[in-house]
Amino acid sequence: MSMWEGISQAFAHLFTLEAGLGLLIGVVGGMIIGALPGLSATMGIALLIPVTYGMDQTAAILMMAAIYTSAVYGGSISAILIHTPGTPSSAATCLDGYPMTQKGEALHAIGLSTTSSVIGGIISAIALLLIAPPLARLSLNFQAPEYFLIAFFGLTLIGSLASGNMLKGLLAGAIGLTFGLIGLSPEVYARFTFGNFQLLGGIDLIPAMIGLFSISQVMILGEERGKHSSNVKVEAEIKGRFLPPAKEFVGLIPLILECSVVGVFIGILPGAGGDIASWVGLNLAKNQSKHKELFGTGIPEGVAAPEAANNAVTGGALIPLLTLGIPGSSTAAVMLGGLTIHGLNPGFELFSKYAGVTYAVIIGFLVANILMGLVGWAAGRYLTKVSKVPIPILLPCIAMLSIIGAYATKQNMFAVYICVIFGLLGFVMRKFGIPTAPVVLALILGPMADEQIYQGSMQALGFKKTFFQYVLSRPICIVLLGLIVLGLFSPLISALISKGYKKKYGDVGEAAEDI
């Protein structure tokens, strides 16, 4: 069955009341779920699977896909307004999103996030529609050695994330890596659990992240005690419009497109998801920027880049899921269960036997991204009012939502205690000028590198090689190694080049750069 036949069949499934309802509930519900700290897209879909039991196939899967992209977008809302990532994919957005709110530009930030997320999502939907099978086959070439190098590459990004003191950034990364050691090792050996089985699973990412970003923020807000009586509202006036000014937008387009493509690609890789993509996007933006030192003070690139990347992951993650039954991210993994329950077994059959339903879902997913933008645009102005709520009222609300979020992921109180402890840690770190972002990145990438070294070693034995020989024997790995070397040495190289310019042209060169 050709793609066009499939698409024409799709319309019958798509234009039903149930599908439309599923789409709408998915988009709005997804945004709310994403915005609530700790409730991620993964959790949202997991909790909603039973609700979809009686629904029509198309409507059910479409709702899940809509929740996915909408939740990833929704996470940016709380990241921007209250420095609390709504989902792990939005942690990177906190760094520039919250400062923008502090400057009174909350609406502008939300507008940027919405636009970027929509574009990222649409591009991934187009990829899903047009080139899913070949991309899926490409993803199979990425195995343990490649994933190890990707994790390694991600860890080298930590250096660039620490604007300012690189040593402190490295310390944060080291802290994250050390925490990542706790728990069962890949070869099932319990490390640093002190006999407490609760730690066998290691330090859970979401409670730790909520602690580092939200609870620490709650503590920092505590400094405002007594400074606001009930009559005085938060100073900053909400400036700016929702849609980014044309000139700014045009300037951002190359970055957004780039991040979207990268996001789709990361989404396709079963070992990597939105959280990694957002950091890679942010790093791309920083590398290509002429004013690196402005990152973290609240600039548009700092919001647009991660948001485009993380939404582009959603469609990308669906590609290997639908074609091979191998989910491209942890959220897609939950959708796999959803597909199975609805009698849709992933595989190339989805594009032939069930083409009508599959293409309906893909097109519906495309529509969901657009709808998400419209909802964001409509709600934007009202959402920013959150930043005007007096701090004494806001503070306990953030704390409460954070605690629910930490609880909801695992449904046990231990996770909440971890969250609180990391909150204290985050507060102390922020007070000492140690960035918290690298800790999160290291918590994700450290265990990933660990896993992949182990699996890679096992695979290498089957090829009669050592791990390193195995790595070097794979072409994609060579390319990745080249990228890593380039990434590590590029600051050095660009510094040398600019020194060279200065020598030749004197200070005129520098002034020319500013234009």
């Binding site: 195995q143 050996y189 089985f197 699973g201 859970d204 191998i326 059959e349 695992k410 699996q455 034995l461």
Partner: protein, 322 residues
């Protein structure tokens, strides 16, 4: 004297009747099944399937609560410590649970005897698959090649998972040099197989129950089913035994309960589950997920688990659990 005795007897009977009358018959409210695995996975799907049909039999809501963390033991501990009134139950997998507490390093003080073992429900026999373009046509082809040189077989979990144990058993019994892949889960193992990073994949019937009988791009060749008899979902695939390899392996999922579970409740629960097993709707749905149903109750269940424990105990050195 006699009169006193009669009055005493009457009083006792009256009290007894009153006590019976005041206790509301189970089930009289929502039941929760604690599933220590995350939503969307095979364990969760099995638990929800059971919950749905158990609810039908009992006439009350049966919810599944995913309590993850602690290597699954947070959830298990919650079940063990819950009240035995029959409103909190649990779901567990084997050999996973057993491996968890046998590993001395995990320092888990519970064992399978810490639970009331209600019923083994899903029985998912182990299989070994290769890609359609693989040079190995039969299980013996693979084994012969494995005797000559090291080969990696991807598994749906690291040391202690049923796939991993199967690979090690082959090595122990037939002198092969297979390297267990140590993958994180089945999807990871599948990725390794299709990416040609490994020679074969050890998994279970439910992973490929609808992807073995054809030539599609995501189809595999099943070399053997490691069970006593042939599998209904893969009827033309010979068992390992038929091919001269005397090994069985499976991933089982069952229902557990607090150790203090009321005996009457247990009996009612077992009766309800027996009816669930006979429900044609249930059978149809389970088959559509590729799940084999073979319920074992009480002593039979515990005999099975003890067998799993014995097998794992015999491999402690190999698994690194001394």
């Amino acid at each position: 004297m006699k009169k006193l005795a009669v009055i005493a007897l009457a009083l006792v009977m009256a009290l007894g009747l009153a006590a019976c009358g005041s206790k509301k018959a189970w089930p009289d409210g929502d039941i929760t099944i604690i599933c220590p695995f995350s939503a969307g996975g095979a364990m969760d799907t099995s638990a929800r399937l059971t919950a749905e049909f158990l609810a039908k039999q009992l006439g009350v809501n049966v919810e599944v609560s995913n309590v993850t963390g602690g290597g699954n033991w947070t959830g298990y501990a919650q079940v063990i410590n819950a009240k035995g009134d029959g409103y909190t139950l649990g779901f567990s997998n084997y050999p996973g649970q057993v491996g968890g507490y046998l590993n001395p390093n995990n320092k888990i003080s519970y064992t399978y005897k810490s639970f009331t073992n209600v019923a083994d429900i899903v029985h998912d026999p182990g299989i070994i698959v290769v890609l359609l373009d693989s040079p190995y046509q039969t299980l013996n082809d693979l084994i012969e090649a494995g005797k000559k040189e090291a080969m990696t077989i991807s598994t749906g979990g690291a040391a202690g998972s049923d796939d991993d144990v199967l690979v090690r058993l082959l090595n122990a019994k037939y002198g092969t040099k297979f390297v267990p892949g140590g993958n994180k889960d089945d999807k990871d193992a599948k990725n390794a197989l299709f990416g040609k990073a490994v020679a074969a994949q050890a998994c279970n019937v439910s992973n490929y129950w609808n992807k073995w009988d054809g030539t599609g791009e995501d189809y595999v060749r099943v070399l053997a089913v490691f069970d006593e008899k042939r599998n209904d979902l893969m009827p033309t695939i010979p068992t390992a035994k038929e091919q001269g390899i005397d090994l069985t392996s499976s991933s089982d999922r069952g229902m557990v309960a607090p150790p203090t579970l009321d005996k009457d409740v247990l009996n009612k629960l077992v009766d309800a589950l027996k009816k669930v097993q006979e429900d044609p709707e249930f059978q149809k749905k389970a088959a559509s997920y590729g799940m084999g149903i073979n319920m074992l109750f009480g002593e039979d269940f515990e005999k099975y688990i003890q067998g799993v424990e014995d097998t794992l105990n015999g491999m402690k050195k190999d698994l690194g659990w001394e």
